[in-house]
Symmetry: C2
Subunit: 195 residues, 2 copies
DNA sequence: CACCGGATATATCAGCCTGATATATCCGGA
DNA sequence: TCCGGATATATCAGGCTGATATATCCGGTG
C-alpha cells in the first residue's frame, strides 16, 4: 500500500545534524550523499510541507533577513527523530535498479557494434570522471573528518562508490573487447551493412 | 521538457523479436532483462495505448481465443523500428541511482552498529542469492544460445550483473568488518548473539 | 459433473519523484 | 547603477510503482 516517501527520511537525517531551509537541504544532500542520493526542489518543498503538518519537522521562529526576505528554516521534532530511527532499522526492500545502458546494449544488435561501443566508451569516460572526483572526496574526508564519530558510517558509502565504479570500469574494458571482436573484419571500414 | 518514457523502447525492442500482448511483454522482459529492467502493468498498458495512437505499434488483426476472450497482440511498425534504432544510438544521460541501503548506513550512527550490520547482512544474503541465480542463467545462455547472433549483446548484461554483484559482496565484507570494529569492544556480550 | 485455484489478461488509481519553468530577492563587482 | 550569479520558494506535466479490481481459461480433484 502507501509507498513511503524516502525523501522524508533523507530530510530527517539531514535536519538531525542542523536546522535548514529546503534550499540548504538540497545542497547539504548533494554535498554529502550526492554520489548515491539526490533530491529535487519539486520533491523537497511539498514534502517539507507535509512533514510539518505531520509534526515530523517544524519551522524555526520567523528568522528573516533584514530586508524581510522569506526563508523557512526547518528543525526536526522528537517525533521526527523517532520516525527516522524506526526507518533506519527497517529492512531495505529489494528493488531492481533500471539500467538504461544495459537495455540499449541488450538490443544493440539492431544497430551494430559501433554504436554499442560508443555507448560503452561514453559510460567509461563518465565513470572515470566520477571515480576521480570520489577519490578526491575520499582523500579529503580521510584527513579532515577522520576523528568525527560518524566517520566510519560515511566512509562506507565512499567505499561502496569506489568499489562499484572500479567494477564498472573493468566491465567496460571487457565489453569494449567483446564489441570490438564483433566489428566486421578490421582494415577496410567501409562495408555498408545494408539490412 | 518532455521526459521520454523509456518504457516505450523496452516495448519496441521486445516487439521487434515477436508480436506480443501486454501480459506477454511483462514476462518476456522479466525473463530476458529482469535483472536490470522491469516493467509494471500499470506502466505497460497505458504506454501501449499511447504508442498505438502514435503508430509505433499496431494491433494484430483480432486474434481471439475460441471463447471470445480478449487478447490484444501488438506488433511493431516501421516507424517503431526507426524510433528504436534512433534511441539505441542516442547517448544515455547520466543519472545518479538512489541507493537506500547507503542512505540508511550514512545515518547509521543514529541507531548504532548492530542495526547497520543487520542491513549489510541482509543485503549480502540478497546479493548472494541473485548471484547464484545469475550464474545459472549464465550457464544456460552460454550453452543454449551461444550460436545466436545476439549472444554477444546479451552476454554483456550478464557480465555486468556478475561483476557488479561480486563487487557488492566484497563491499559487504569490508563493511561488516568496519561495523564490527565499532561494536562496544566487550567480549562480555556473549559469543553467539541471540537473533 | 461441479468446484477450485492458479495462470492468463486488461485496466485504473494514488502517490512518489524528476526535470522544467516561473518568480523574486540579495549582494558583490564593474 | 546595473548586472549576473547565488539564494530561495513554488508549481506542474508526465513517468513510473505497487496496489487493487475484474474477468476468463483450464487442468485437477472430489
Amino acid at each position: 500500500m502507501a509507498r513511503e516517501s524516502t525523501c522524508r527520511f533523507a530530510i530527517l537525517g539531514m535536519l538531525c545534524r542542523e536546522p535548514m531551509s529546503g534550499y540548504d537541504l538540497r545542497s547539504a544532500i548533494e554535498r554529502s550523499v550526492g554520489h548515491f542520493w539526490q533530491e529535487s526542489y519539486g520533491n523537497l518543498y511539498p514534502t517539507l510541507e507535509r512533514m510539518a503538518e505531520e509534526r515530523l519537522v517544524e519551522l524555526e521562529p520567523e528568522e528573516r533577513s533584514p530586508g524581510g526576505r522569506v526563508r523557512k528554516v526547518y528543525r526536526v521534532t522528537a517525533a521526527g527523530r523517532t520516525a527516522l530511527a524506526e526507518w533506519l532499522r527497517r529492512p531495505v526492500l529489494p528493488h531492481v535498479e533500471r539500467n538504461e545502458l544495459l537495455l540499449k546494449l541488450f538490443f544493440g544488435a539492431r544497430v551494430g557494434p559501433a554504436d554499442s561501443l560508443a555507448q560503452v566508451e561514453r559510460s567509461r569516460a563518465e565513470a572515470e570522471a566520477l571515480l576521480a572526483a570520489l577519490r578526491l572526496i575520499d582523500e579529503d574526508v580521510r584527513h579532515s573528518r577522520k576523528d568525527d564519530p560518524e566517520f566510519a558510517y560515511w566512509y562506507l558509502s565512499i567505499r561502496a562508490g569506489l568499489l562499484g565504479l572500479e567494477a564498472h570500469l573493468r566491465w567496460c574494458d571487457e565489453a569494449r573487447e567483446a564489441l570490438e571482436r564483433l566489428k566486421p573484419a578490421t582494415g577496410s571500414t567501409k562495408k555498408r551493412g545494408a539490412r
